[in-house]
């Protein structure tokens, strides 16, 4: 019989004490759902041998309000986020670790729901959570649950992808419509609620990346435009590579609903977060073939070439507007907040 009352129980300080309550929580929620050989060994670490190649490691803390949103939750997000950060080096992600900070009083049922979603995302991605940690903080000192995941992966020989490799003339590709995640989150945020069919695009992109590098091993940069959106990612890449970037507004895939929500709230879709999209910079001669390959993958069906890299010592990102003018697409200043004017 279960020792945890998952249906009605709450996280208590004892669940983080390291004693029997911790062990029960780990067994009945984490081990049960993540269920893999390495984790099941019950050690404080996971031991594995690594294939040849160069290894990458990436870590990402996940804090989000609300915890559950259309198209995902903090659990699936914490898997996709780190798998993607590892994959953006061209790597095959191998293993994940997960650290949970739980707030006293957090419903066990919600925790289980999150862990089930996380386990599903990890199994679907083929990247198991092999080690983890749980701590409990007093009520009022956390926001329900924070999840930090770390991922390791192996980059195949011959692949060299980095944010500082963009060259003038290169093409810039985005893998699909932008702003879906951020708008889905906003639509379910307290005080802002609006109806929409938009769901978070949260997804693991490593299989798309694998197909991309198979077709175009010369890819120079890959990055997922999460916080700060497409605009911020393009500015980061321009700065790292010391180049300018020129994009066309009419080429950027954006759903009508995302545009509508942005008009309503006074936001710019270029700055809205994505969790299942990537930006790729590739030599122009490879762009056509690469785009065709991306279109065959479910996560790249709406991929589009949105512009090109140019020479610019000022490292500016400039957009040709649909209207026919040009405007600078700057770094995000402060937070993107709904405005009235």
């Amino acid at each position: 019989m279960s020792k945890l009352d998952i249906k009605n129980g709450l996280i208590e300080m004892g669940h983080g004490s390291g004693g029997r309550a911790s062990a029960t929580l780990i067994e009945e929620i984490f081990v049960r759902h993540f269920d893999n050989e390495l984790l099941n060994q019950g050690n404080d670490q996971a031991l594995f041998s690594i294939p040849a190649g160069r290894m990458v490691i990436s870590t990402d803390g996940h804090v989000i309000t609300p915890l559950f949103f259309p198209g995902g939750d903090i659990g699936s997000l914490s898997i996709h986020g780190t798998v993607n950060d590892v994959a953006m080096s061209g790597a095959t992600p191998l293993y994940l670790s997960a650290s949970f900070i739980l707030e006293e009083g957090f419903p066990l049922a919600d925790l289980e729901r999150i862990v089930i979603s996380m386990a599903k995302a990890s199994i679907d991605a083929g990247v198991p959570v092999v080690t983890g940690d749980t701590k409990v903080v007093e009520r009022g000192k956390g926001d329900g649950v924070f999840i930090t995941t770390t991922g390791v992966g192996i980059v195949p020989d011959g692949i060299n992808i980095s944010g500082d490799l963009a060259k003038p003339g290169d093409a810039i590709i985005v893998s699909g419509s932008i702003g879906d995640h951020g708008i889905a989150i906003l639509s379910s945020r307290e005080g802002l609620q609006f109806g929409t069919t938009i769901e978070s695009d949260s997804a693991a992109l490593h299989t798309l990346v694998a197909e991309m590098i198979a077709i175009a091993p010369a890819i120079r940069c890959l990055r997922d435009p999460t916080r700060g959106g497409l605009a911020t990612t393009l500015n980061e890449l321009a700065r790292q590579s010391n180049v300018g970037i020129s994009i066309q507004e009419t080429s950027i895939p954006i759903k009508a609903e995302v545009k509508g929500a942005c008009e309503l709230l006074g936001l710019d879709p270029l700055y809205i977060a994505n969790e299942g999209k990537l930006v790729c910079i590739v030599p122009a001669e490879d762009a056509g073939q690469l785009l065709a390959a991306m279109h065959k993958h479910p996560l790249g069906q709406n991929a589009a070439i949105i512009g090109n890299v140019c020479e610019d010592a000022q490292q500016m990102v400039v957009m040709k507007t649909a209207f026919g003018g040009s405007r600078v697409v700057d770094w995000l200043a402060g937070e993107q907040l709904p405005r009235i004017c």
Partner: protein, 372 residues
């Protein structure tokens, strides 16, 4: 998007711009003040400046509610939240606006002030209903567009006899500010692009006195780029003909008399405030509203005995002159160096509608273009 996309057709813009170039007389200047930040934003966002001949110039006006709110009012709100156990609700636009001493609502929130961003005044009311044990204050800002919603909420609060809700009223009025700029005569203005959404409420007739008294033409212009360009053409034609009347380009939403229901609601809840300080323009008589005595219980200034706080201008910042149409943002010593959207010193750098923020993005691009 219906009623939006149709007014963003770049081909029509070129045709309208061609007419402007044909009709603008090369031997004279057309200095057009766009009163609203919304127009400033559209002019820059869509690159309308590039379509204009050199002698048609835009002068930026004070029509950004965030930009004209004096730092002292923000300081007063910060003091309120830090000295009383209140929840302060505000439109997000205000969060980063500099108060005195490098402070802002955002910083006060980080220090522990219970400051919440709301999308609508009705959300502030909902917060008051959900937190009956706390006093909830709504930091109301805006021109006549945003005043009726505040009035509506005050009426509801009154009907509900909600004892823990009040409004810190900072609503200002457009025609007095326009009159002030014209009467000061500091900025040479040949024509005015009139407010669009303010005018839906107050109507096009509200500017008749301005035009008559100062012999300046005014065209009420929608915020979409074709609205703006068409309105410029209408202004050029009036100026050429030596006329000075109110014309309405934005007829799809603005009538002569405006929204009477909204007007009567405002009149029921608010009355003229004898004096109000505007950032940049100074203290202007009868240029703002205050809550009527019938609704005094909901007036945060009265309930909490809020006092006016005087703040010194930020050294070197020329926002006041920019707001009066006297200077361009790039003539400020702080512009782009000490004052950026990331670390704004003046209010005009905060709001995306502020002239400085618009210049920061586009001015840099245009400077780079002209170098190349």
């Amino acid at each position: 998007m219906k009623f939006v996309d149709e007014y963003r057709d770049g081909d029509v813009a070129q045709l309208l711009a061609r007419l402007i170039r044909q009709e603008a007389k090369p031997d004279r200047n057309y200095r057009l003040m766009e009163f609203c930040g919304g127009h400033t934003h559209a002019i820059f966002r869509f690159g309308i400046v590039d379509l204009m001949p050199d002698n048609v110039r835009f002068i930026h006006g004070p029509g950004c509610p965030v930009c004209v709110l004096p730092a002292g009012r923000i300081e007063a709100a910060i003091k309120l939240v830090e000295e009383n156990d209140v929840i302060l609700c505000t439109y997000a636009d205000l969060m980063r606006v500099p108060a005195g001493k490098r402070d802002s609502l955002q910083k006060a929130k980080a220090r522990g002030g219970d400051i919440r961003m709301v999308y609508s005044a009705t959300d502030a009311l909902a917060i008051a209903q959900a937190n009956r044990e706390k006093q909830v204050v709504f930091f109301a800002i805006g021109f006549e567009t945003t005043t009726p919603p505040t009035a509506a909420v005050l009426k509801i609060a009154n009907a509900m006899q909600l004892t823990n809700f009040s409004v810190f009223c900072n609503h200002v009025e457009t025609p007095p500010a326009m009159m002030h700029i014209l009467s000061a005569g500091e900025a040479k203005i040949d024509g005015i692009l009139g407010p669009s959404h303010v005018s839906t409420i107050i109507g096009s007739q509200a500017y008749a006195d301005c035009c008559d008294k100062y012999r300046v033409p005014l065209v009420i212009a929608g915020f979409e780029p074709l609205d703006v360009i068409q309105s410029v053409l209408m202004l050029v034609r009036q100026i050429n003909a030596g006329e000075a009347s109110v014309e309405n380009q934005y007829t799809r939403a603005v009538s002569k008399g405006g929204n009477k229901k909204a007007q009567s609601l405002m009149a029921e809840v608010f009355e003229q405030r004898p004096l109000f300080e505007w950032r940049g323009l100074g203290v202007l008589p009868e240029s703002a509203v205050q809550i009527r005595s019938e609704f005094a219980d909901f007036d945060a200034e009265k309930r909490f005995g809020m006092q006016a706080i005087a703040t010194a201008d930020i050294k070197g910042c020329i926002c006041p002159a920019v707001l009066r149409g006297m200077n361009n943002p790039d003539e400020c010593k702080l512009f782009g160096t000490a004052c950026t959207p990331e670390d704004p010193k003046g209010a005009c750098m905060v709001s995306s509608e502020g002239a400085c923020a618009a210049y920061y993005s586009y001015g840099r691009y245009r400077a780079a273009e002209s170098k190349a």
